[in-house]
Amino acid sequence: MANRIDRREFLKLAALGGVGVVFASALPGVAQAHDQDDFFFLQLSDTHWGFEGPPNPDAKGTLRKAVRSINGLAEKPDFIMFTGDLTHTTDNPVERRRRLSEFRDIVSGLEVKTLRFMPGEHDASLDNGKAFQEFFGSTRYTFDHKGVHFIVLDNVSDPRAQIGEAQLAWLAQDLRQRAADDPIVVFTHRPLFDLVPQWDWATRDGAKAIELLMPYRNVTVFYGHIHQEHHHNTGHIAHHAAKGLMFPLPAPGSQPNRAPLPWDPSAPYKGLGFRGVDADVDEARYTIIEYPVLKA
């Protein structure tokens, strides 16, 4: 496990270099019999390509800078997961496709072999995910990577912010094939729990998904939507929200509305960034590393 030790050392050094590290989803005493490789992936979220306004004077440059920072990482991730709101919403279907196309072109510059995508409500809620699917395929899917089962749940293509009975049945069917201690990671755009319903930071039927996941001991959820790092548990299930790459939003419920935080000229890109996740499969432990837009 030399590589694993090297990665741990790397993460320590990265932390000393100014990126944030959180030890998350630690499940004490869980050690699985099978021998799996650990791995490292990135979560990027809420790039809102097409947004223009004072909250980000570098709206056309931020994502490109993040791509350069990622390409400069000392360790390449196994894959990158984009957790929605790739584009900023527009009522014009032609413009929506133009934004999706430009976004795809920019992220094609990432020197990472596997990129995975899911929509946010800005990408998908006005056409039930039609344009998104033209560019990136299904809005819900599963995949397996080095012993971890990943589930991508779509809680945005229905403009009512619902997962829906059909998708819940699909989820239940998928979970029936899992053992109770299988490591499972769920990606969603919106929080599955009621974070701040007054700000639309919820999924109307998210509790049903949590109920289906609850019997499984090693479940972790990574999501976006709220444009900031946030950690919450529903029972033993940890939910980790990621920063965005266009504008940060206020702390949950901290003010009457969820207007973007103003750009701080003294600290450009403050509150923006992307996330690394180091998966220790044997212990079902995920170490989160928060990276700024610009390489530290």
Binding site: T89, D91, S125, A161, P197, Q198, D200, P256
Partner: protein, 124 residues
Amino acid sequence: MNLRRRNFSIGAAAAALGLASTSGYLRAQAPARPKVIKIVAKRFEYTPSHVTLKKGEPVMLELTTRDVVMGFNLPDFGLRADMVPDQVTRLPFVPDKTGTFTFLCDIFCGSGHEEMQGSITVVG
């Protein structure tokens, strides 16, 4: 016939018929119809966007939308409904706590959706 004598007569007649003995009496004594609060939605605003209500006073929210399907969600009271064009959605509501509470559109309706909200102030 004054009202009291009339109510008594209805109650007595109902009892004589073996019916719920005071149903007519209760109907006659039912409180006045709840105050109607009309809220009209259009992309991306509610009119009015602020409503003041009195704690404990029943109201009937009458919700309409002028263009597309909208949501009306008042999470602090667990109250929500769809607003569908050409329909009136009626939501009975008795506010049971004071304060100012946000209502919002919870059906993604376009580029200004995230700003589409209003508030209800409940006074004691």
